[in-house]
């Protein structure tokens, strides 16, 4: 906070924008990772339950053995995501459908499989699921199903793309709002208007040598004497004073002081600078020199009237 307070408006905007983009990107990555983990876990759980449901059905055709029904049931699965189905009963493979004979063996297929096991086959897009085959409450064999993960991977990818798109959209929206808000605040700062609701903007008192501008009362004094200004002349002086010692172009002045008028141009600037100098000179003859014309660039209000000779002599 302290750092951002020391930064100028534009820099602050960049810092805030970068923070927004960073936070959104981080949140999106975390959300996608979380979703993928959930998707994978759900897929694993459902695949295990799928194999268990099939094994429970297959159990009814194992004793007495009904090869044809078992094979047909296995083929029903192969139409979907299952890429192979194997049923082993009493150490004999009674169903071997799908696959191309290159299905890797489990390290310990004879393990007591209470609920079953899933594993990703290295270098393959298949989830290998093995579950016990029960008969009258006794594990008499195993059912092994390879489940293709292509569809679930595609779904994860599509979701990631969607989330990324949404995050980008949010980023752009926030950045647009920030930019708009920053631009609005700059306008308010640089070009005070004269409506009641904006009267508090720039209400502080500015003192530049003998020039004093009271933002609250809109009173201007030079060398202690009041300077009678119209609202537009006051706005011009206030703007130049806030940019003291900096050359501001006519365009900047038009944007700030005549922001509400699409027809204002450099002629208005010239005319009002002339009038302003005249009003200042009416109070103090050296007031005319307060606003310096920088040919080809614009105008500059000097903050060191002593150096400029304002109060000299």
């Amino acid at each position: 906070m302290a750092i951002t307070n020391r930064l100028k408006g534009g820099q602050r905007l960049v810092v805030v924008a970068a923070t927004v983009v960073l936070v959104t990107a981080l949140a999106t990555i975390l959300a996608i990772r979380g979703y993928h983990t959930l998707l994978e876990e759900t897929f694993r759980e459902r695949s295990l339950a799928y194999a268990q449901a099939f094994a429970a059905s297959a159990g009814a055709w194992v004793d007495p053995l009904n090869d044809e029904m078992l094979t047909t049931a296995a083929r029903f699965l192969l139409v979907g995501s299952a890429s192979y189905v194997r049923i082993e009963y009493g150490g004999i493979r009674i169903v071997d459908e799908g696959g191309s004979g290159s299905i890797p063996e489990f390290d310990s297929p004879a393990d007591p499989l209470a609920a079953g096991e899933t594993r990703w086959t290295a270098g393959s897009a298949v989830l290998d699921v093995i579950v016990p085959l029960y008969l009258s409450g006794q594990a008499v064999g195993t059912v092994r199903i390879g489940i293709d993960t292509v569809s679930i991977v595609a779904r994860g990818r599509a979701t990631a793309m969607t989330a990324g798109g949404i995050a980008l959209g949010v980023d752009l929206l926030v950045l647009a709002l920030l930019f708009w808000s920053h631009r609005g605040s700059r306008r308010r700062r640089h070009g005070p208007s004269f409506g009641g609701d904006e009267a508090s903007d720039g209400a502080e008192t500015l003192v530049l040598g003998d020039l004093r501008i009271d933002g609250a009362t809109k009173a201007v004094t030079l060398s202690g004497s009041p300077v009678d200004l119209t609202p537009k002349q006051y706005a011009l002086l206030d703007f130049l004073a806030r940019q003291a010692d900096r050359v501001v172009s006519e365009r900047e002045i038009v944007d700030a002081v005549w922001s509400e008028s699409p027809y204002a141009d450099s002629k208005d600037v010239k005319q009002y600078v002339y009038l302003l100098r005249k009003r200042l000179a009416a109070v103090d003859s050296r007031g005319r020199e307060l606003i310096v014309t920088v040919p080809g660039f614009g105008y500059r209000l000097t903050s060191s009237p002593v150096d400029e000779g304002l109060t000299d002599g």
């Binding site: 799928y50 099939f54 059905s57 049931a73």
Partner: protein, 192 residues
């Protein structure tokens, strides 16, 4: 791809039915038809249970469609089949209706005929509810809801199968099988 899978599902259905009917002709006995019917129904239960736990929604819909094919048969309104149709496949719903007159003819005595007719009617009712649930699953857009539909389908198929138990149960297929004395032929005696 989807069409190819559906076509494959239909071809498998043909296989199931041909296995179930065992190449039988019109002269099949009612007992043979009941055994075939029971095998088909058990295959339907297997489909409903795997569908309920399918790893993806696409798989679930596919198995639900396989069940619909099995229930409605070749002439079904919702059957997805390849064209041209190779062979007429009777569906469970059609078969249970077709068996009605045979029950009447064989079970002449009213005390047997009436319970069997009631049981057959219950089987048809449960199967039609299972069909409704499977159709709902096929149209499902959320896997959890479609799974619930398939569990519902399974429950109705189980009710149609009428597995005997100690708790009250509604007479259905098992009652018919028992009346014809063919419980052993379906290889399900170990379940009773």
């Amino acid at each position: 791809m989807k069409r190819a899978k559906r076509a494959a599902a239909y071809l498998i259905l043909l296989t199931v039915v041909s296995i179930a009917v065992g190449g039988q002709t019109a002269e099949r006995t009612i007992e043979d038809r009941l055994v075939a019917f029971t095998q088909q129904l058990r295959m339907g239960m297997a489909l409903a249970s795997v569908a309920a736990y399918s790893p993806t929604l696409d798989d679930l819909r596919l198995h639900a469609q396989q069940l619909i094919n099995l229930l409605e048969g070749a002439g079904g309104k919702h059957v997805v089949r390849p064209s041209p149709l190779v062979e007429a496949v009777p569906g469970l719903l059609v078969e249970v209706v077709a068996l009605g007159p045979r029950f009447d003819a064989l079970a002449a005595e009213a005390d047997v005929r009436v319970p069997i007719r009631d049981a057959a009617k219950n089987v048809w009712t449960f199967l039609s509810y299972a069909l409704e649930a499977a159709l709902s699953a096929v149209d499902g857009r959320r896997i959890d809801r479609a799974s619930a539909d398939m569990l519902r389908a399974y429950a109705f198929l189980l009710a149609a199968y009428e597995r005997p138990c100690d708790t009250p149960y509604v007479p259905a297929l098992w009652t018919i099988l028992r009346a014809y004395g063919i419980v052993e032929r379906i290889g399900a005696e170990n379940e009773s």
